[in-house]
């Protein structure tokens, strides 16, 4: 039998922990300690150990694996606590980071913020202009040296940066992704001239080591972020390693990556950790997809200020944001896509100047002052206030009774800010707030799913997060999905997600290959360069796997190709049938896969092979599976949920109005119990709102399965 596994998600507010030990599950939660992440980290494990009636030491002694996701990197960016860095680049192109493709000012902003062009501002650069130097050199797009590197000038510029107080160097030259020769020469010069005794631990980061993808701005940004975040991340995580060692844990400690895999600290670039918590949640969704044998799953996490969602198809989380934005910086590290919009329990409702509509969010009352019903001074009506007024939330049992809510304050806020200005009653106003926020969430998901070429109706929706179960039936209506799953560990779902992850690394290489020529009706067959590039990536993958003490033979490799028609700028990824290509048939098959994918995205007549088909880059994924626990199953104990009935209260339902509604205690429901809507099912960390037309069943995994029993209105 496997020992325990511990999964921790260090979030911005809370550190969550999910433990599997002797086929039992436990969860723990503790405030995140930004001054030293290890404190909150251990507190969360202590809380989880207590749920087993055990201690930190005993749990750690029987633990085989700890995995964790962290937002430390994000904090460093927000607080600007990274080191003073110098950037060495190609002369004549020193302003690449400041030009920022022109659109840098809009990166990371909401559409409403972007539209307000008069207030546009670029983010403060992480490396100021006076710490950027250009050296005379040039490599062209074929990797040929156009201008040789001038060593004397490099020395002169280095001295300038050191005099200016550089605590580390980023070297990012044009087309270093094709030929890293000059970047490596510069690193050698720095090492020769400024040995360790002088520079200490100052990082020297080469863009060609961080990314082999075309695009000097995004490559340099990725590189700078890595250098900028490295010190804080490494510092905090190394001390975490040491403390766990002191507590007797000497087995693997793995960091979850936003790419969907995990590695040891030594094999983790700082940008890899970005958004790793939500991505772990997405991966948790793949496990749900697997055990329920339902290939298409939408994961949704409704929190206080934001709504995260992601898409799983064919049982896999395969949609990447190729150029994700980390705070205000777009980077080249492909991260699994989990989208976020400003909608949650704290989202503020208002009647805009137009006077005849209700908007909800993206502004949030946050946790302080929070919704009006918190009684902490908040005057603005929020989604939580509406949920309270509608009777969905019990003011005496919010978060299991840990937080008391004031329904009078919620009513007053909704009356003054919404109902009176519109001339409607408070219940109608509260119901409108709920409908608007539900549809906002639903339509956002709808757009993303259809842009990926799928029909939302073919998906099962997985709802977690504090307000997930409260609003899931609402946004499910906008999506017309038939089934929703809720999870007993909803509040620590991202930590749970870590428990199903494998070790994964992603490698990329840029070079264009014409795969189909319409004029000659011929397919790509000169495979030497193509295969050589794949072999190079495989070599790197082998090196990294071995470096982590892993058996290369256990790893699974897949090759994905970035493809486009003719003169298009935007591309799609297609999985190659094999890693090394051997015949024109391979090329034909790849082109057919591309065309099929393109048709599914944009319609039958959209394909345009007459324009030629190109491969622009290759992406190799190396997956190393690790053993996972299986969910235990339970025998049904009958459909009648009467034993869990807590009582009734007045609840307002869309179309039904205020009606006396049954309230159930989720903890007392038994496997197989069925609860028909309308009903409310309460747990100590969330409230499941079940409208008429839906039925809740506690299934054999003790997850709440909510199914539609009548047509969408």
């Amino acid at each position: 039998m496997m020992g325990a596994t511990i999964d921790v998600d260090i979030g911005g507010t809370f550190t969550d922990c999910f433990v599997v030990w002797n086929d039992r599950y436990g969860k723990g939660k503790a405030p995140t300690t930004h001054y030293q992440a290890s404190v909150g980290f251990k507190n969360a494990i202590v809380a989880a150990a207590e749920s087993f009636g055990s201690s930190l030491e005993d749990l750690l002694a029987d633990t085989d694996l700890i995995r964790y996701s962290t937002t430390i990197a994000t904090n460093t960016l927000i607080e600007k606590t990274g080191p003073r860095l110098g950037l060495i680049t190609t002369a004549g192109f020193e302003d690449v980071m400041l030009i920022g493709r022109g659109r840098q000012w809009a990166d990371g902003l909401t559409p409403a913020e972007i539209r307000n062009q008069a207030r546009a501002k670029k983010p403060e650069p992480l490396i100021p202009r006076n710490m950027i130097v250009g050296v005379r050199e040039r490599i062209d797009f074929d990797g040929d040296v156009m201008v040789p590197l001038d060593r004397d000038q490099v020395l002169e510029k280095l001295q300038y940066l050191v005099n200016k107080g550089a605590m580390g160097f980023v070297v990012s030259l044009l087309w270093a992704c094709m030929n890293p020769e000059h970047e490596r020469e510069i690193r050698d010069i720095i090492n020769e001239e400024y040995p360790d005794t002088y520079l200490g631990n100052m990082p020297i980061i080469l863009s060609s080591d961080v990314s082999r993808k075309r695009g000097e701005y995004l490559r340099t940004t990725t590189c700078i972020l890595d250098a900028y975040l490295h010190r804080d991340l490494a510092g905090q995580l190394t001390s975490l390693n040491e403390e766990l060692l002191d507590d007797g844990y000497d087995k693997p400690l793995m960091i979850i990556h936003g790419t969907g895999g995990m590695s040891r600290l030594s094999h983790t670039a700082a940008v890899d950790t970005y958004n790793s918590g939500p991505v772990a949640g997405l991966l948790g969704g793949t496990e749900i997809s697997r055990i329920y044998e339902t290939p298409n799953v939408l994961i949704t996490d409704v929190g206080g200020t934001s709504f995260d969602f992601g898409v799983i198809t064919g049982g896999k989380a395969g949609f990447y944001d190729m150029f994700p934005t980390i705070e205000r910086w777009r980077v080249q590290t492909p991260l699994l896509e989990v989208k976020t919009i400003g909608a949650g329990g704290g989202s503020i409702a208002r009647v805009p100047e137009t006077g005849s509509r209700i908007t909800v969010g993206p502004q949030s009352a946050g946790s302080m002052p929070g919704p009006a019903c918190y009684g902490l001074g908040g005057k603005e009506p929020t989604v939580t206030d509406a949920d309270l007024v509608l009777g969905y939330i019990d003011p005496g049992y919010y978060l299991g009774g840990k937080k008391k809510l004031d329904p009078r304050k919620a009513t007053r806020a909704i009356r003054e800010k919404i109902a009176d200005p519109l001339g409607i009653d408070v219940l109608e106003a509260a119901m409108s707030i709920k409908r608007v926020v539900d549809s906002t969430m639903g339509y956002e998901i709808f757009k993303e799913v259809v842009l990926k070429g799928y029909d939302p109706r073919d998906f099962v929706l997985l709802a977690y997060g504090g307000a997930g179960a409260t609003h899931c039936c609402g946004f499910a209506d906008a999506l017309e999905v038939e089934k929703i799953l809720t999870f007993p560990y909803s509040s620590v779902f991202c930590a749970f997600g870590g428990s199903v992850m494998d070790i994964l690394s992603v490698y990329e290489s840029t070079a264009p290959y014409a795969f189909y020529d319409h004029l000659t009706d011929s397919y790509f067959c000169e495979f030497e360069d193509f295969n050589h590039s794949v072999e190079e990536m495989l070599h790197l993958a082998f090196r990294d796997l071995k470096g982590q003490g892993l058996d290369v033979d256990q790893a699974v490799f897949t090759l994905e190709l970035e493809m486009r028609y003719g003169t298009q700028h935007f591309t799609e990824y297609v999985e190659s049938p094999r890693g090394l290509l051997a015949s024109e048939d391979d090329s034909r098959e790849i082109c057919e896969r591309f065309t099929e994918k393109y048709k599914s995205l944009y319609g039958e007549s959209a394909a345009y092979p007459e324009g030629g088909i190109e491969v622009l880059s290759q992406r190799l994924k190396a997956l190393y599976p690790v053993p996972h626990h299986e969910f235990p199953t339970y025998e049904p104990a009958g459909a009648d949920p009467a034993a869990a009935l807590k009582g009734t209260r007045g609840v307002c339902w869309d179309g039904l109005g205020l009606s006396d509604t049954r309230i159930y205690d989720a903890a007392l429901l038994r496997c197989g119990n069925e609860v028909p809507g309308p009903a409310i099912i309460e747990t100590d960390d969330t409230t499941c709102v079940l409208p008429e037309g839906w039925r809740y069943t506690l299934d054999r995994y003790l997850n709440g399965a909510i199914e539609r029993v009548s047509e969408v209105k």
Partner: protein
Amino acid sequence: MGGRDLDMSDMITPEPPTVDEVRCMEALSPADLEILGHRMQMIALEANEVLMRMSGSPAGLAGDIGSCVYTAEGDPAAAAVGIWGHAFAGQLPIKYILKHYADDPSVGIHDGDAFFCNEALFGGIHPPDMGTFMPIFHEGRLIAWAESMVHATDTGAIEMGGIAMNAKTRYDEGLKMAPMKLAENFMIKGDVATMMENMVRDQASLALDNKARLAACMRIRQRVLEVAEKKGADAVVGCLRRMIEEGARVARERVAALNDGTYRQPVFMNLERPESQGGGEQLVRIMLSIRKKGDRITADFSGTSPEAESPLNLYSHVIHPFGTGYVCCSHLFPDLPPSLGLTEIVDLVVEPGSMVCPGEEAAVGACPATAFAASQAIFCCIARMMFDSDLRENLVSTYPYMTLYAVWGGLDRKGNYFVSFGADINAGGFPARSDMDGVDTAGFNVATRSDCGEVEDADIIQGMSYLFRRQGTDNFGHGMYRGGAGIEFAYLAHKSMMTVLACVGGCGKFSSAPGIFGGYSVPPLIGVKVQGSNILDMFERGDENLPTSIEEVLRSRDVLGGTCRVSSPMLEMAGLDEGDFFATLQGGGAGYGDAIEREPEAVARDVEAGLVSGWAARNVYKLVYDPETFIVDEAATGELRLAAREERKRRGRPYEEFALEWDAKRPEGVGLDYYGSWPDCM
């Protein structure tokens, strides 16, 4: 008249709600309106995403696109951009189609049809802006229209690239299609597509764009019909019209709250004759008087120069999407849902025969530049109006009107034919604000989602390399708050089998953006073309004189050798050999307020960053600082600024005296061929 409708300019305002629309609007609850309005917005966004991803033109990347859901009467109601102009520019072609083809049995409007138009005489913008329009029927009832527009790489004009600067009349500008059916039964008509592709140089891009526009329209149609099925067609009809009505109502209320007044602003453009037409700079003027009274704004362009023998002529309907629409959506009402309703407050007055209301044979290929110049005048007037009414937060100086547009083509290193345009058009500076500097290299003025791309992308996708690319020095308007810097760069012919390059530019003699409230205007722009130089040898030996800026190109002329042509950025199509290059710049934003009121530390920071020259620091900002450490000498700076103020007072004189002296500077005999009579363009 070739089917023209001379009443088209009357169609530019929203149609009055029909009885049916009023009924549908009244049935909507506040929550329904928000939910459906949001849904329509998401539909437009989804379609625009489809358009961007499928487009074969660099416009997809550059954001030179737009998609929109229109009412059944042809008014734009929910837009996604790109460029506001592209989302709003479908209304005249759609209204034309409704008026002239609905009952024409030889054409008709049927489910599955999609129309194409890129002809300004029929409500289009300029030939490269190609639009597709699709009616949306629900159970036989026309409930909405879908629109999508992309800027194409070529139109088969007398010069490649879509904007022929040598064009004298419309007949020089290539493919110009009045509204015509591009698709029936949801399929592109093979004969029409073949005809179109046959008329341009870059056939693959056009073919991809035709598919992309149709796919985007079909996506809008599909989604709107889904809403109609679920919520009822009335809900769609009511929601679309109400979005416009509400926008218009709030816009009127806000305008009514501003102080009444008249604001005037001339914008001068130097129109450069191509060398093949004898060359020479010509001065023209856009004159604007804005009269704000109650809840209406009248934009009167009387006093604008007459129609010119140039592609810079502009049909007045284009001022709405590129000028008033842009000002309203991005600056006056950035918080209101974007719809035609926001621009309903503006009435346009133009004089027939002027540059902004030319005859039907006029060339209009470069008209966006003139539209931007007109929008500058609008910006200046609106800024004063907002300042006067104490609405200063969203007040800006001006964006550069002459966005530099480089077009190239030829045979790439593999022998493939290519045509492309430079994404550097999206690297201009934004204007200064009332409380902060403009944004450096922020984009293309009317596009909120533009992207100037990467050098490595241009190398490999666009078939043209760069010698250098950096933020320019002093290429913006100085001021208490300075304009954002534009980009400075040199295109280099490298490893292609054949390269031809042209540049649509201007402002070689005159500013591309006037400053406000004492802020400096943007300086004139420059183009430097170097051919047959020693640069290949200099590359090989890593020569220390390899230029990394325009200034260094000019200083290294002797070392570089070859020929060096210094002019405005306007460049006629010509071949470049390996190592030849063309250096130019994109203008920055204009300044705000008096430069000698700028915080001295801010000037020193700009000097250190290379954005402000030492010369400008001393002479414009009156700054004294240590050129090694950039530490400001505050006392000496204070003295210098005080002396500057005294000097200004000494230069002061009565207006009549100034006017006489100024009038004496009038151009004599040259440069006024297209101006009209001096000084009032009569």
